[in-house]
Structure formats: C-alpha cells, structure tokens
C-alpha cells in the first residue's frame, strides 16, 4: 500500500478539478467574510499547475510537489498563494527523490507542509483559518497510522477530520487573515481557506484510498 508518483499526479489533478467545481462556492464563502477571491485564486493557480503537469510527469514526487508550490506562489497571490505555495514546497522538500510514498512518508510530508503554513502565517488553532482544517486532519492521520489503520482508512479519517475542522470554523471569530477585520461579524461563516484545505485532503482520500 504505497502512493505512487502517478497517484500523486492524479491527486493534484483531482484537487484541481474539485477547485474548479467549487470555485464559486469558495468565492461565495470568501465574499461573506473576505474579498470574494479565494475560489478564483485557487482555481487560477491550479489551472497553471495543470499546464505544468506534462513537464513534470516523469520527475520524482519531491520535484513535482516543489513545482506545484512554486507555481502556486507565482500565480495565486493573496494569502492563499504563499500559504499553499509553502505547504507544497515544504512537502516537496520532505519527499525529494522519492518515486512513491508510504503512509509514513505522507504523514511527514504533510507535517512539513503544515509547519511551513504555520511559520508563514503565524495562525494558531482557532483563529478561523486553514490551520483549523489542516491540524486536526493531520492529527487524525497520525492517530490512525499509530492505531494501525491501513492507508485508505487513515486517509478517510484525515479527510473527515478536515471536514469537521472546516465546519468548526463557522462559529469562530476570525483572528487572522482578512476575516479578522470583521471582528464579531465574522462568526457564523465558514472559512474559505479551511474549505479549500478540506478539499485537498478529500481529493487525497478519494484518489489514494485504494492505492
């Protein structure tokens, strides 16, 4: 049960599709407490990533993820660009030279990515950001692996925890990012970045489930 390079490429493709499908939904979430661009930004970035895929399809997973990160950095902009760019860059650093990932490799790569996001954005759990989806998701992944779950099960747990984390952002008052300018008015809305992070992990669960 390993994640092959092709599965990694498939995951990126699946995430890009999910972002395109959910573009308006993400934008709508961002309109409520932000500036109505998260969907367009992520979609623009992953469209650029897709156009880079042919060039990197025969590279190692580290190179692939770093290329995704660099592309996001140069095309997404806003808060999403540096954060997702960093996430993929750091995950790529952790997987340099690898042609496949074990569950453990993925746990380490994701951890590196999340750490990168934390360092860059300085958000804490509960600030109503993508961190609120990513951190519980990673915890669930790690826990599942420690409990001996197989890859598919662990990824499912991870995606479900991300979804819960995402929903749990609804009542929160934002303390980071653009939504924080709304103060109390930010409560009652789901965070767009937590939502795009959930989609990323859902895509992984869907595509890697029966790796």
């Amino acid at each position: 049960m390993v994640i092959t390079r092709d599965k990694v490429l498939e995951w990126i493709k699946r995430y890009a599709d999910l972002l395109a499908e959910n573009r308006d939904y993400l934008t709508q979430l961002d309109a409520a407490i932000g500036d109505a661009d998260h969907g367009a930004n992520m979609d623009r970035g992953f469209k650029a990533v897709l156009s880079k895929m042919p060039e990197i399809a025969d590279k190692d997973i580290g190179t692939i993820l770093k290329t995704v990160g660099m592309t996001l950095l140069a095309t997404v902009g806003g808060a999403g660009g540096p954060l997702y760019g960093t996430l993929f860059l750091q995950a790529g650093m952790k997987t340099t030279g690898k042609m496949e990932l074990t569950l453990e490799d993925w746990i380490n790569a994701l951890e590196a990515g999340i750490t990168g996001v934390k360092n860059r954005g300085k958000a804490e759990l509960g600030d109503k950001t993508m961190i609120d989806a990513l951190v519980p998701a990673w915890n669930a992944l790690k826990q599942a692996a420690e409990n001996g779950s197989n890859l598919g099960e662990a990824l499912d747990r991870c995606a479900r925890a991300a979804e819960e984390g995402m929903k749990a952002t609804i009542p929160l008052v934002a303390r980071k990012g653009r939504a924080s300018y709304l103060g109390e008015r930010s409560a009652g809305h789901q965070d767009p970045g937590a939502t795009s992070s959930y989609l990323m992990l859902r895509a992984a669960a869907e595509v890697w489930r029966d790796a």
Partner: protein, 333 residues
Amino acid sequence: MKKLINKPEDVVREELEGMALAHPDLIRVHFDPNYVVRVDAPVKGKVGVLSGGGSGHEPMHGGLVGIGMLDAACPGAVFTSPTPDQMLEATKAINGGAGVLHIVKNYTGDIMNFEMAADLARAEGIEVESVIIDDDVAVQDSLYTAGRRGVGSTVLAEKLCGAAAEQGRSLKEVADVCRKVKDWGRSMGMALTSCTVPHVGRPTFDLPEDEMEIGIGIHGEPGRTRMKLKPADEIVEMLMEPIIKDIPYKPGDEVLLFVNGMGGTPLIELYIVYRKAHQIATQHGLKVVRNLIGSYITSLEMAGTSITLLKMDEDMIKLWDAPVKTPGLRWGM
C-alpha cells in the same frame, strides 16, 4: 454586472495595456510578470520606491508611478495581492544601487508575498526595507490578530517617500519618512453600495437601499457595522471622531486632510464630505495645512468615502509640495 469591461479574466491585462498606451512618457508596463515601472528606471543612485497590491484600487498603485512618487507598482488580480516573482522583478528593475523601499499595506497576503520577495531580492544582493501601513481605525489593533488594514495613508506615504527618494535621501531616510506616515496617519471608510468583483459577477454584499456600511476596507468586504443611511454630516462625524481620538491628534497639530472616493462616488459629494471634515478638524483645533480630495484609493465602483488624517511636520509639507508627475497625481511639472 454593469461594467465597461470585456472578459473578467482580461480586466487587469487590458487596463494595463490602456495605461501603457496612454502614458508612454511616464511609465512602461511589463507583462508576465506584471509590473508598472517609471519610464527611466532604474534611476542611478536613487532609492527605488515600490508598492503593489490587488487591482481594483486605481489609480493606486500603477497610476502613481512616475517622477517624485513610485518607481514601480505590482498589480495583482482584482483584490488579490500580487506574487513574489512580480515584486522581485520590479525590485530589480528599479534598483539604482541605493536599495529599494517596499511600501506594504497590512493584509496577510500582501505581507507574506512581500516578505518572500524581499528575501529573494536580498538574496540577489539588493538592499530592501519594508514598511507596513496599517492606518484603518475601524479595525481594532491587537497583537493577536492581523491588526489594522492599510488604506488611505498608503497614497500619502507613496507621495512623501517618492519625493524623499527623488531628493537623494538614503534608503533608511526614505523608510523613516514612511514610518512617520505609518505612525501619524489614520483613516476610516464607509460604503453606500457594494462593489462587484468582475469574476464574481454580483455584488460582494447586499446593502438595502436605506442602509450603509461603516468601517469598510478597500476590498469590498463588509464593514464593522451596518446601519440606516444618515446625512453626510453625521457620517463624517462617525468617521472623523474615531480617527481624531486614535493617535490622538492634538489641538495645534498641522494635518493633511484626505477625502477619498471609493470609485463610484462623484466629486460633488466628496466636497460635501470635505466641508464637514474640515469643520470638525478645525473644531478640534487641528490646522488643515494640506488636503487631497478625489478618488485615489478605490474599491472598483463602490460608492462611499474614506477620510485620512496625517499629521504633518515641516519636512513632510515640503515633501508633499515637491513636484510629482504620475498619471494619477501631478503638480509642479
């Protein structure tokens, strides 16, 4: 969506093409990555002044590039911070050997992207200083949040720093001017209508015919509170009082009073706003020594206004009066 545009995805590129066609004497526009740069950049021995941010705030920033103001501006997608590669290229394009100042508005995206760009530029041996403008008193400041937004003071910082750089001051000295603006400038805004982001196609928020948003930023985001529409004089009071109390400005202070339109508000209304703002400033003992009235930091076609007060000293007044020649702000040449 009622806009004079073609396809939403072409808005920024076509606007930049229009600017390039209109002002070849003042600016050049570079595409992929996108930046607007002073026609004679880099100016040897002069500190370069760079700013940038999402598009939709015109003339800020691209329209403020030229002699005596910005050396370059990086436009992002509408309301979206530009990316580090743009900023890096623009920084290189305006580095005349004396270093480059990055004037950054306090938004998470802008800060992170500018941070990365500054790191990259430093790695290439260019001295970079960054100053973050965060003047919006509508937002409560706190160490634990993203802090205050950067709004109207940015335009004033760009003018003053541009003039300081033109005089041949050092990077540290130009950055000091910027830090003074950061410390001495405060703003607050309000909206009568929402704007419509082109790729979204409908207003960011719905605002009933008899309501307004107080404490808005410049990205079409809702404000701090929504309330019934009020006469202009009362609205101006609601903006001016928190501004004046914030630093606080003190009787005798000399100030620049900047009444800004959000894009869809005509000048006739801005003068009605200015009238009351000037009266209130005067009642508080402030001396309005300079002013700026017009739509300089906009939010697409949003109707509304923002007011900025900037405490001025003698040096700043001289820098303000210094010649400037950009598409959006011009005097003395």
